[in-house]
């Protein structure tokens, strides 16, 4: 694989990661069973 393709693919991976993080942050949170500040994991 030549250098140009590698540059393009690496940038695509970085942008995809940014998009995934942004979507996860923007997604409304599911309420856990115990509602608030009880320290429970999901």
């Amino acid at each position: 694989m030549n250098s140009d393709w590698q540059t393009f693919l690496a940038a695509a991976v970085v942008v995809s990661t940014l998009v995934v993080f942004a979507v996860r942050l923007a997604r409304p949170k599911k309420k856990s069973g115990c509602r608030k500040n009880c320290g429970c994991g999901k």
């Binding site: 540059t7 690496a10 970085v14 856990s32 069973g33 009880c38 320290g39 429970c40």
Partner: protein, 630 residues
């Protein structure tokens, strides 16, 4: 109630923590549910399927372990909601199986009476009859059944004894709801229940006249002894710590070799380029650096499982309770904090053994202040520079001990303040610490427990940590520079530019832009600081880490500010040490904290507090030292 002719009947399992409820659930459903009670964590209701002896399908709900139905804790609220059919998508159970520890009926029957008071049909699963009989307790299940008005099934769930009999009790026609006769005896329901249980135990669970000293009593005479108990506990925890700290190095080395081999393989199939750098330097190094901790996590949870399953953990919590109370915590916080000296990640994950949600959150908050092994390469670089000596002298050992002691002391002070601010627990917490009899470890439970924790960690490494590694690589790589020199590339990257921008921010701490850049890269993981400093100060990496650090130290001694003053003075080095002691510089720990606390907000504020505190302490020490003429 569910329609018996269409949908499968719903059977709810309820019981106190450590009654063997999840063991029974697994025995009934064949499911791989984890056994244990972690209040504030296992608050979800697990469900599985089983069949009556006639082949009729039943849906079994495993409710969280709880002591009562007062709904004063998340566990109790979920259990009560489940029994009232208030959980989303669930109806009122057709039958409730109350699981009780036969050797501790006085306490466990309290919950059973409360379930009967709700008017729900019940079956009493009289679990651990073997333990009860060994203590000399004379059980009369028929009398118990007659007095309570519900079927009673003696059983030993971990040996699958009594499962068939229990399934018989679950078939049609089901028992009717019993009358709560005791509820009319006095105006206070609690008193009525206690009086009824005392009478019931006198009739159906008689203890021997003279107290028989059991094997557990004999072991406790040593393990809870004011002197020998402490010695035994120190030996046990030292072994755990030693195993995590040193024995895990062997598989960690294998993972590191695998990581190197993978990087080499990527280098062999891809020519020089961004994708190769992303995969080898970003993904493999980033994710591999975190997966390296997997052996420590597996070992820690193996020990925790062993200590819990055998019954020793409750004794250790009992012994440590008074000490940890000085920090506003319970004895159960000791092991997670102790394990954090090896690595905060397994330490934070180990907080699941803490019953109180507030104690757990505070323990998670302070765990990263226990000096973890990732800080050691940084200390090994800075401390000899500070003392102007070679590595490995007793003075350095003394400084290192001081660093560990100061970190722990600071953590305890913060814990005390924070715990006070969170207020009293509404759950009984450590005041209801039970000392269960010693049992043979349940290996199937331990291995399931270890597997669950390891998988949760690997999943985290494969998602959030993978993403963070890619983004950090991008910050260290873009914008690209035509120079092939690694130091130039890093200095011209986004992170290098941020380093220059933040120089005015870090200068009051005695740091220059290059140190600022190296500190920024260390927010991924602390040990990255040394390799970043090596790149920025142009030290060629060799196989001898000690020699590399020595060359780097020489370069650091030579480095000067533009006006000719040395950058690395004793004062700036102390400032740097303090910054590394207190700052939250581990992306993986932050991700694990977010998961374990169930809140990114908690992880964020922990990061802000720890890093802000580190900045403030370094600033005060450096500026104060300068004012005093150092």
């Amino acid at each position: 109630m569910s329609n018996a002719s269409e949908a499968p009947s719903i059977i709810a399992l309820i019981g106190n923590p450590n009654a063997g409820k999840t063991t029974l659930f697994n025995a009934l459903t064949g499911a791989n549910q984890r056994v244990g009670n972690y209040s504030g964590v296992t608050v979800e209701v697990k469900s599985g399927e089983t069949f009556t002896p006639h082949g009729r399908k039943l849906r079994v709900l495993d409710l969280p372990g709880c002591y009562s139905l007062r709904a004063s804790s998340p566990d109790e609220k979920v259990a009560l909601d489940a029994l009232n059919g208030l959980l989303p998508g669930e109806s009122i159970p057709d039958l409730v199986v109350c699981v009780v520890d036969a050797s501790n009926l006085e306490r466990h029957l309290q919950l059973t009476l409360q379930v009967i008071e709700l008017g729900l049909p019940c079956v009493l699963a009289l679990n651990m009859v073997d333990v009860a009989e060994r203590t000399g307790l004379r059980l009369d299940p028929a009398k118990l059944s007659e007095e309570l008005g519900i079927p009673v099934v003696p059983m030993q769930a971990n040996a699958r004894r009594g499962i068939v009999e229990l399934k018989q009790a679950l078939r049609f026609p089901r028992p009717h709801a019993s009358e709560a006769d005791w509820s009319h005896e006095t105006s206070d329901l609690e008193t009525s229940r206690r009086a009824f249980i005392a009478r019931l135990c006198e009739l159906a669970a008689r203890r021997p006249e003279a107290h028989q000293q059991t094997l557990s009593d004999k072991i406790d005479a040593v393990l809870l002894h004011p002197l020998y108990g402490w010695i035994a506990m120190m030996l046990i925890f030292f072994t755990v710590f030693w195993a995590i700290f040193s024995f895990a190095q062997i598989p960690m080395g294998w993972i590191k070799s695998g990581q190197d081999a993978l990087s080499t393989w990527i280098g062999s199939i891809l020519q020089e380029g961004d994708l190769r750098s992303l995969l080898a330097d970003g993904v493999v190094t980033g994710v591999g650096g975190v997966v390296t901790f997997l052996p420590q996590i597996i070992l820690l949870f193996l020990f925790i499982g062993l200590l819990e399953s055998s019954g020793y953990m409750a004794r250790a919590a009992y012994l440590m309770d008074a000490v940890m109370a000085k920090a506003g915590l319970s004895g159960k916080s000791f092991l997670p904090l102790f394990s954090s000296f090896a690595c905060a990640i397994p330490g934070v994950m180990a907080t699941r053994t803490i019953d109180s949600a507030k104690d757990r959150l505070v323990t998670i908050f302070i765990a990263p202040w226990m000096s973890c092994s990732a800080r050691l390469p940084v200390y090994f670089l800075i401390v000899p520079l500070l003392l102007q000596s070679k590595e490995g002298t007793w003075k350095q050992a003394l400084v290192l001990f001081g660093i560990y002691a100061l970190g722990t002391l600071s953590a305890f002070v913060v814990a005390r303040v924070l715990r006070g601010r969170l207020g009293e627990d509404i759950t009984p917490g450590h005041f209801l610490l039970e000392l269960p009899p010693y049992r043979k470890p349940q290996w199937s439970y331990i291995f399931r427990h270890v597997f669950d924790r390891a998988m949760a960690f690997v999943k985290k490494a494969g998602t959030v940590i993978l993403g963070l590694s890619i983004l950090l690589w991008a910050l260290k790589t873009y914008p690209k520079t035509p120079s092939a020199d690694k130091a130039d590339a890093l200095a011209n990257s986004a992170i290098g530019h941020i380093g220059i921008v933040i120089e005015p921010v870090v200068k009051p701490l005695g740091f220059d832009g290059r140190m600022g850049t190296a500190i920024l890269t260390a927010f991924a993981a602390r040990e990255v600081f040394v390799s970043s400093m090596s790149i920025l100060y142009r030290v060629e990496e060799s196989d001898n880490e000690e020699q590399d650090r020595s060359i780097l130290r020489d370069r650091l001694i030579e480095s000067k500010w533009p006006d000719g003053r040395p950058i690395f003075t004793p004062l700036s080095l102390i400032s740097l040490l303090l910054f590394f002691m207190y700052a939250m510089q581990c992306a993986a720990t932050t991700a694990v904290v977010a998961r374990e606390s169930g809140s990114w907000k908690w992880a964020f504020w922990q990061f802000v507090f720890m890093t802000g505190f580190a900045y403030l302490v370094s600033l005060l020490v450096f500026q104060g030292g300068k004012l005093l003429g150092f």
